[in-house]
Protein backbone atom coordinates (compact mmCIF):
# COMPACT_ATOMS: atom_id res chain seq x y z
CA UNK A 1 0.00 0.00 0.00
CA UNK A 2 2.89 2.26 0.86
CA UNK A 3 4.37 1.61 -2.55
CA UNK A 4 1.14 2.70 -4.20
CA UNK A 5 1.02 5.97 -2.26
CA UNK A 6 4.68 6.66 -3.00
CA UNK A 7 4.03 6.19 -6.68
CA UNK A 8 0.97 8.45 -6.69
CA UNK A 9 2.86 11.14 -4.79
CA UNK A 10 5.88 10.86 -7.06
CA UNK A 11 3.85 11.16 -10.26
CA UNK A 12 1.81 14.09 -8.93
CA UNK A 13 4.99 15.87 -7.89
CA UNK A 14 6.44 15.29 -11.35
CA UNK A 15 3.34 16.83 -12.90
CA UNK A 16 3.63 19.82 -10.55
CA UNK A 17 7.19 20.36 -11.72
CA UNK A 18 6.13 20.21 -15.35
CA UNK A 19 2.72 21.77 -15.36
CA UNK A 20 2.47 22.54 -19.07
CA UNK A 21 1.82 18.96 -20.16
CA UNK A 22 -1.07 18.39 -17.78
CA UNK A 23 -2.55 21.79 -18.50
CA UNK A 24 -2.43 21.13 -22.25
CA UNK A 25 -4.87 18.23 -21.91
CA UNK A 26 -7.15 20.30 -19.73
CA UNK A 27 -7.12 23.29 -22.06
CA UNK A 28 -7.83 20.96 -24.95
CA UNK A 29 -10.97 19.80 -23.17
CA UNK A 30 -12.11 23.32 -22.42
CA UNK A 31 -11.35 24.69 -25.89
CA UNK A 32 -12.92 21.84 -27.85
CA UNK A 33 -16.12 21.89 -25.81
CA UNK A 34 -16.30 25.68 -26.10
CA UNK A 35 -15.92 25.64 -29.87
CA UNK A 36 -19.17 23.77 -30.44
CA UNK A 37 -21.55 26.36 -28.95
CA UNK A 38 -19.65 29.04 -30.84
CA UNK A 39 -19.84 27.17 -34.11
CA UNK A 40 -23.43 26.02 -33.87
CA UNK A 41 -24.88 29.28 -32.66
CA UNK A 42 -27.67 30.11 -30.26
CA UNK A 43 -29.92 27.12 -30.91
CA UNK A 44 -30.38 26.18 -27.25
CA UNK A 45 -32.52 23.12 -27.92
CA UNK A 46 -29.96 21.63 -30.29
CA UNK A 47 -27.08 22.41 -27.91
CA UNK A 48 -28.84 20.70 -25.02
CA UNK A 49 -29.35 17.64 -27.19
CA UNK A 50 -25.76 17.27 -28.35
CA UNK A 51 -24.08 18.37 -25.10
CA UNK A 52 -23.60 14.96 -23.44
CA UNK A 53 -22.07 13.41 -26.55
CA UNK A 54 -19.71 16.31 -27.21
CA UNK A 55 -18.54 16.65 -23.62
CA UNK A 56 -17.95 12.92 -23.36
CA UNK A 57 -16.06 12.68 -26.67
CA UNK A 58 -13.91 15.65 -25.63
CA UNK A 59 -13.23 13.89 -22.32
CA UNK A 60 -12.11 10.73 -24.16
CA UNK A 61 -9.76 12.67 -26.41
CA UNK A 62 -8.23 14.78 -23.67
CA UNK A 63 -7.63 11.65 -21.60
CA UNK A 64 -5.77 10.22 -24.58
CA UNK A 65 -3.50 13.27 -24.67
CA UNK A 66 -2.27 12.59 -21.16
CA UNK A 67 -1.96 8.83 -21.57
CA UNK A 68 1.16 8.92 -23.68
CA UNK A 69 3.14 10.28 -20.75
CA UNK A 70 1.98 7.62 -18.33
CA UNK A 71 4.89 5.24 -18.90
CA UNK A 72 6.87 6.80 -21.74
CA UNK A 73 8.96 9.24 -19.69
CA UNK A 74 9.91 6.54 -17.17
CA UNK A 75 10.68 4.17 -20.01
CA UNK A 76 12.96 6.67 -21.74
CA UNK A 77 15.14 7.51 -18.74
CA UNK A 78 15.41 3.95 -17.42
CA UNK A 79 13.25 4.52 -14.34
CA UNK A 80 10.76 1.93 -15.50
CA UNK A 81 13.47 -0.76 -15.31
CA UNK A 82 14.20 0.31 -11.75
CA UNK A 83 10.50 0.08 -10.92
CA UNK A 84 10.37 -3.46 -12.32
CA UNK A 85 13.42 -4.34 -10.21
CA UNK A 86 11.96 -2.82 -7.06
CA UNK A 87 11.08 -5.28 -4.28
CA UNK A 88 7.55 -3.90 -4.27
CA UNK A 89 4.94 -5.69 -6.39
CA UNK A 90 4.94 -4.02 -9.80
CA UNK A 91 1.17 -4.17 -9.99
CA UNK A 92 0.89 -1.75 -7.06
CA UNK A 93 3.29 0.68 -8.71
CA UNK A 94 1.38 0.50 -11.99
CA UNK A 95 -1.90 1.06 -10.14
CA UNK A 96 -0.34 4.08 -8.47
CA UNK A 97 0.58 5.51 -11.86
CA UNK A 98 -2.98 4.96 -13.12
CA UNK A 99 -4.44 6.70 -10.07
CA UNK A 100 -2.07 9.62 -10.53
CA UNK A 101 -3.11 9.87 -14.17
CA UNK A 102 -6.76 9.98 -13.17
CA UNK A 103 -6.13 12.70 -10.59
CA UNK A 104 -4.34 14.79 -13.21
CA UNK A 105 -6.41 14.08 -16.33
CA UNK A 106 -9.76 12.74 -15.07
CA UNK A 107 -10.70 14.53 -11.88
CA UNK A 108 -10.32 18.06 -13.33
CA UNK A 109 -12.77 17.11 -16.10
CA UNK A 110 -15.35 16.10 -13.50
CA UNK A 111 -14.90 19.42 -11.72
CA UNK A 112 -14.96 21.46 -14.94
CA UNK A 113 -18.01 19.69 -16.36
CA UNK A 114 -20.63 21.99 -14.76
CA UNK A 115 -18.96 25.07 -16.20
CA UNK A 116 -18.76 23.47 -19.62
CA UNK A 117 -22.33 22.23 -19.31
CA UNK A 118 -23.59 25.78 -18.74
CA UNK A 119 -22.40 26.72 -22.21
CA UNK A 120 -24.75 24.08 -23.56
CA UNK A 121 -27.66 25.35 -21.48
CA UNK A 122 -27.95 22.13 -19.47
CA UNK A 123 -30.24 22.31 -16.45
CA UNK A 124 -28.94 21.56 -12.99
CA UNK A 125 -30.16 17.96 -12.81
CA UNK A 126 -28.41 17.20 -16.12
CA UNK A 127 -25.23 18.79 -14.77
CA UNK A 128 -25.34 16.55 -11.70
CA UNK A 129 -25.84 13.46 -13.84
CA UNK A 130 -23.05 14.58 -16.18
CA UNK A 131 -20.65 15.03 -13.25
CA UNK A 132 -21.62 11.69 -11.75
CA UNK A 133 -21.13 9.82 -15.04
CA UNK A 134 -17.76 11.49 -15.56
CA UNK A 135 -16.79 10.61 -12.00
CA UNK A 136 -17.55 6.93 -12.63
CA UNK A 137 -16.36 6.89 -16.24
CA UNK A 138 -13.05 8.76 -16.27
CA UNK A 139 -11.29 6.24 -13.98
CA UNK A 140 -12.27 3.55 -16.49
CA UNK A 141 -10.70 5.67 -19.24
CA UNK A 142 -7.44 5.96 -17.28
CA UNK A 143 -7.43 2.24 -16.51
CA UNK A 144 -8.15 1.03 -20.05
CA UNK A 145 -5.77 3.61 -21.44
CA UNK A 146 -2.91 2.32 -19.33
CA UNK A 147 -3.02 -0.93 -21.32
CA UNK A 148 -2.52 0.96 -24.55
CA UNK A 149 0.16 3.19 -23.05
CA UNK A 150 2.11 0.15 -21.84
CA UNK A 151 1.67 -1.87 -25.03
CA UNK A 152 2.94 0.91 -27.28
CA UNK A 153 6.08 1.66 -25.23
CA UNK A 154 9.11 1.99 -27.44
CA UNK A 155 7.06 1.78 -30.63
CA UNK A 156 7.71 4.46 -33.23
CA UNK A 157 4.54 6.47 -33.76
CA UNK A 158 3.22 4.85 -30.61
CA UNK A 159 0.75 7.58 -29.73
CA UNK A 160 -1.18 7.14 -32.97
CA UNK A 161 -1.24 3.39 -32.56
CA UNK A 162 -2.37 3.83 -28.98
CA UNK A 163 -5.35 5.92 -30.07
CA UNK A 164 -6.37 3.22 -32.52
CA UNK A 165 -6.02 0.54 -29.85
CA UNK A 166 -7.76 2.36 -27.06
CA UNK A 167 -10.57 4.42 -28.56
CA UNK A 168 -12.67 1.37 -29.56
CA UNK A 169 -12.39 0.13 -25.97
CA UNK A 170 -13.81 3.45 -24.76
CA UNK A 171 -17.07 2.98 -26.67
CA UNK A 172 -19.07 1.34 -23.83
CA UNK A 173 -18.10 4.10 -21.41
CA UNK A 174 -19.10 6.70 -23.99
CA UNK A 175 -22.46 5.07 -24.68
CA UNK A 176 -23.50 4.70 -21.05
CA UNK A 177 -21.96 7.98 -19.91
CA UNK A 178 -23.55 10.16 -22.56
CA UNK A 179 -26.67 7.96 -22.52
CA UNK A 180 -27.32 8.62 -18.85
CA UNK A 181 -27.32 12.39 -19.35
CA UNK A 182 -29.61 12.10 -22.34
CA UNK A 183 -31.98 9.70 -20.53
CA UNK A 184 -32.17 12.11 -17.61
CA UNK A 185 -32.99 15.03 -19.88
CA UNK A 186 -35.98 13.21 -21.39
CA UNK A 187 -37.18 12.07 -17.99
CA UNK A 188 -36.11 8.42 -18.06
CA UNK A 189 -34.60 6.47 -15.18
CA UNK A 190 -30.79 6.58 -15.22
CA UNK A 191 -30.05 3.92 -12.62
CA UNK A 192 -29.37 1.31 -15.31
CA UNK A 193 -26.72 3.48 -16.90
CA UNK A 194 -25.07 4.11 -13.56
CA UNK A 195 -25.10 0.43 -12.64
CA UNK A 196 -23.40 -0.44 -15.90
CA UNK A 197 -20.82 2.31 -15.52
CA UNK A 198 -20.13 1.15 -11.97
CA UNK A 199 -19.79 -2.42 -13.16
CA UNK A 200 -17.35 -1.34 -15.86
CA UNK A 201 -15.29 0.51 -13.24
CA UNK A 202 -15.19 -2.47 -10.88
CA UNK A 203 -14.27 -4.87 -13.66
CA UNK A 204 -11.55 -2.56 -14.93
CA UNK A 205 -10.18 -2.01 -11.43
CA UNK A 206 -10.00 -5.74 -10.83
CA UNK A 207 -8.31 -6.79 -14.05
CA UNK A 208 -6.64 -3.90 -15.86
CA UNK A 209 -3.70 -3.31 -13.46
CA UNK A 210 -2.58 -6.90 -14.01
CA UNK A 211 -2.84 -6.59 -17.76
CA UNK A 212 -0.90 -3.31 -17.80
CA UNK A 213 1.75 -4.80 -15.53
CA UNK A 214 2.22 -7.69 -17.93
CA UNK A 215 2.44 -5.23 -20.83
CA UNK A 216 5.08 -3.16 -19.01
CA UNK A 217 7.15 -6.30 -18.41
CA UNK A 218 6.96 -7.19 -22.09
CA UNK A 219 8.03 -3.67 -23.05
CA UNK A 220 11.04 -3.81 -20.72
CA UNK A 221 12.18 -7.14 -22.11
Amino acid sequence: MNALLTMVKRDLLLVMRRKSEALTALFFFVVVTSLFPLGIGADAALLRKIAPGIIWVAALLSTLLGLQRMFAADYADGTLEQLVLSPQPLVLLVTGKIIAHWIVCGLPLVLLAPVIGLQFDLDSSSLYVLMATLFLGTPVLSLLGSIGAALTLGVRGGSLLMSLLILPLYIPVLIFGAGAVYANSVGLNTSGHFSLLGALLILALAFVPWVSTAAVKIAIE
Binding site: N2, A3, T6, M7, R10, L13, L14, R17, R18, D77, G78, T79, E81, Q82, L83, V84, L85, S86, P87, Q88, P89, L93, I220, E221
Partner: protein
Protein backbone atom coordinates in the same frame (compact mmCIF):
# COMPACT_ATOMS: atom_id res chain seq x y z
CA UNK B 1 32.96 -8.87 -17.54
CA UNK B 2 34.88 -7.79 -20.57
CA UNK B 3 34.23 -7.92 -24.26
CA UNK B 4 33.94 -6.00 -27.47
CA UNK B 5 31.02 -3.70 -28.19
CA UNK B 6 27.90 -5.64 -29.05
CA UNK B 7 29.17 -8.97 -27.79
CA UNK B 8 26.33 -9.24 -25.27
CA UNK B 9 27.62 -7.93 -21.95
CA UNK B 10 24.54 -5.87 -21.23
CA UNK B 11 22.26 -8.69 -22.38
CA UNK B 12 23.93 -11.04 -19.93
CA UNK B 13 23.52 -8.52 -17.10
CA UNK B 14 19.85 -8.10 -17.96
CA UNK B 15 19.41 -11.88 -17.86
CA UNK B 16 20.98 -11.92 -14.40
CA UNK B 17 18.60 -9.24 -13.13
CA UNK B 18 15.57 -11.01 -14.57
CA UNK B 19 14.67 -8.08 -16.85
CA UNK B 20 15.07 -10.46 -19.80
CA UNK B 21 14.23 -14.13 -19.76
CA UNK B 22 16.70 -16.72 -20.99
CA UNK B 23 15.63 -19.07 -23.80
CA UNK B 24 17.24 -21.95 -21.97
CA UNK B 25 18.83 -22.36 -18.57
CA UNK B 26 17.96 -20.39 -15.45
CA UNK B 27 19.43 -17.91 -12.98
CA UNK B 28 19.54 -19.07 -9.38
CA UNK B 29 19.59 -16.94 -6.23
CA UNK B 30 20.12 -18.82 -2.94
CA UNK B 31 19.45 -22.06 -4.77
CA UNK B 32 16.15 -21.14 -6.32
CA UNK B 33 15.17 -19.51 -9.58
CA UNK B 34 14.97 -15.71 -9.40
CA UNK B 35 11.43 -15.87 -10.76
CA UNK B 36 10.15 -17.95 -7.81
CA UNK B 37 10.36 -15.07 -5.32
CA UNK B 38 11.33 -11.97 -7.29
CA UNK B 39 10.54 -9.65 -4.36
CA UNK B 40 13.18 -11.26 -2.15
CA UNK B 41 15.73 -11.25 -4.96
CA UNK B 42 15.07 -7.63 -5.90
CA UNK B 43 15.46 -6.61 -2.26
CA UNK B 44 19.08 -7.75 -2.42
CA UNK B 45 19.72 -6.49 -5.93
CA UNK B 46 20.87 -3.15 -7.22
CA UNK B 47 21.12 -2.85 -11.00
CA UNK B 48 22.45 0.26 -12.67
CA UNK B 49 22.32 0.29 -16.45
CA UNK B 50 23.45 2.68 -19.16
CA UNK B 51 20.69 5.17 -18.42
CA UNK B 52 20.94 6.92 -15.08
CA UNK B 53 17.24 6.43 -14.21
CA UNK B 54 17.18 9.74 -12.35
CA UNK B 55 14.16 12.02 -12.64
CA UNK B 56 15.43 15.25 -14.17
CA UNK B 57 12.74 17.34 -12.48
CA UNK B 58 13.69 16.11 -9.01
CA UNK B 59 16.71 17.16 -7.00
CA UNK B 60 19.44 14.67 -6.15
CA UNK B 61 18.07 14.39 -2.62
CA UNK B 62 14.50 13.81 -3.83
CA UNK B 63 15.72 11.15 -6.24
CA UNK B 64 17.50 9.32 -3.43
CA UNK B 65 14.49 9.52 -1.16
CA UNK B 66 12.11 8.42 -3.89
CA UNK B 67 14.20 5.36 -4.65
CA UNK B 68 14.59 4.58 -0.96
CA UNK B 69 10.86 4.49 -0.52
CA UNK B 70 10.33 2.46 -3.71
CA UNK B 71 13.09 0.05 -2.70
CA UNK B 72 11.63 -0.18 0.81
CA UNK B 73 14.85 1.10 2.42
CA UNK B 74 14.74 3.23 5.53
CA UNK B 75 16.59 6.40 4.63
CA UNK B 76 16.66 9.53 6.77
CA UNK B 77 17.42 12.91 5.25
CA UNK B 78 20.72 13.06 7.22
CA UNK B 79 21.99 9.80 5.80
CA UNK B 80 20.95 10.79 2.30
CA UNK B 81 22.68 14.16 2.60
CA UNK B 82 25.81 12.57 4.05
CA UNK B 83 25.91 10.17 1.09
CA UNK B 84 25.58 13.01 -1.40
CA UNK B 85 28.22 15.08 0.38
CA UNK B 86 30.62 12.18 0.40
CA UNK B 87 30.55 12.16 -3.39
CA UNK B 88 31.17 15.86 -3.78
CA UNK B 89 27.61 17.07 -4.25
CA UNK B 90 27.59 19.42 -1.29
CA UNK B 91 25.60 22.52 -2.24
CA UNK B 92 23.95 20.76 -5.18
CA UNK B 93 21.67 18.42 -3.28
CA UNK B 94 18.58 20.55 -3.89
CA UNK B 95 19.31 21.39 -7.49
CA UNK B 96 17.13 19.61 -10.08
CA UNK B 97 19.18 16.77 -11.59
CA UNK B 98 18.53 18.40 -14.95
CA UNK B 99 21.22 20.96 -14.08
CA UNK B 100 23.89 18.40 -13.15
CA UNK B 101 26.58 17.21 -15.54
CA UNK B 102 26.82 13.59 -16.68
CA UNK B 103 29.60 12.94 -14.17
CA UNK B 104 27.65 14.52 -11.34
CA UNK B 105 24.65 12.34 -12.19
CA UNK B 106 26.89 9.28 -11.86
CA UNK B 107 27.89 10.64 -8.45
CA UNK B 108 24.23 10.75 -7.44
CA UNK B 109 24.07 7.09 -8.48
CA UNK B 110 27.07 6.35 -6.28
CA UNK B 111 25.18 7.89 -3.37
CA UNK B 112 22.29 5.59 -4.26
CA UNK B 113 24.62 2.56 -4.24
CA UNK B 114 25.83 3.57 -0.79
CA UNK B 115 22.32 3.94 0.65
CA UNK B 116 20.60 1.05 -1.13
CA UNK B 117 21.70 -1.73 1.29
CA UNK B 118 21.73 -4.42 -1.39
CA UNK B 119 24.11 -7.36 -1.25
CA UNK B 120 24.39 -7.86 -5.01
CA UNK B 121 25.37 -5.00 -7.24
CA UNK B 122 25.10 -5.40 -10.98
CA UNK B 123 26.69 -2.43 -12.70
CA UNK B 124 26.88 -1.77 -16.41
CA UNK B 125 30.03 0.24 -17.18
CA UNK B 126 29.99 2.21 -13.92
CA UNK B 127 33.26 3.98 -14.71
CA UNK B 128 31.82 5.82 -17.72
CA UNK B 129 31.81 9.62 -17.61
CA UNK B 130 33.74 9.74 -14.33
CA UNK B 131 36.79 11.93 -13.72
CA UNK B 132 39.95 10.57 -12.09
CA UNK B 133 38.84 11.45 -8.55
CA UNK B 134 35.41 9.95 -9.04
CA UNK B 135 36.92 6.72 -10.39
CA UNK B 136 38.98 6.48 -7.22
CA UNK B 137 35.95 7.17 -5.05
CA UNK B 138 33.91 4.54 -6.88
CA UNK B 139 36.74 2.03 -6.40
CA UNK B 140 36.73 2.83 -2.68
CA UNK B 141 32.97 2.40 -2.56
CA UNK B 142 33.19 -0.94 -4.34
CA UNK B 143 35.99 -2.10 -2.05
CA UNK B 144 33.87 -1.19 1.00
CA UNK B 145 30.93 -3.07 -0.43
CA UNK B 146 33.07 -6.18 -1.02
CA UNK B 147 34.66 -5.99 2.42
CA UNK B 148 31.17 -5.86 3.92
CA UNK B 149 30.44 -9.22 2.31
CA UNK B 150 28.74 -7.83 -0.77
CA UNK B 151 28.88 -9.22 -4.29
CA UNK B 152 29.49 -7.34 -7.49
CA UNK B 153 29.17 -8.05 -11.17
CA UNK B 154 30.30 -5.31 -13.52
CA UNK B 155 31.23 -4.66 -17.09
CA UNK B 156 34.07 -2.32 -17.89
CA UNK B 157 36.50 -1.41 -20.61
CA UNK B 158 39.05 -0.26 -18.06
CA UNK B 159 41.43 -2.30 -15.97
CA UNK B 160 39.81 -2.84 -12.58
CA UNK B 161 42.10 -2.47 -9.58
CA UNK B 162 40.26 -4.70 -7.17
CA UNK B 163 41.45 -7.68 -5.15
CA UNK B 164 40.12 -11.14 -6.04
CA UNK B 165 38.48 -9.94 -9.22
CA UNK B 166 37.52 -12.63 -11.71
CA UNK B 167 37.48 -11.62 -15.34
CA UNK B 168 35.03 -13.16 -17.76
CA UNK B 169 35.94 -12.54 -21.39
CA UNK B 170 32.95 -12.74 -23.68
Amino acid sequence: MRGENGVGKTSLLRLLTGLSKAESGEVLWNGQSIFVDPGAYHRQLLFLGHRDALKEEFSALENLQMYASLDDVNLTAEIALAALWRFGLRGRENLPVHYLSAGQKRRVLMARMLTRQASLWILDEPFNALDVNAIEELEHLIAEHLEGGGMLILTSHQVIRLPKVKVLDL
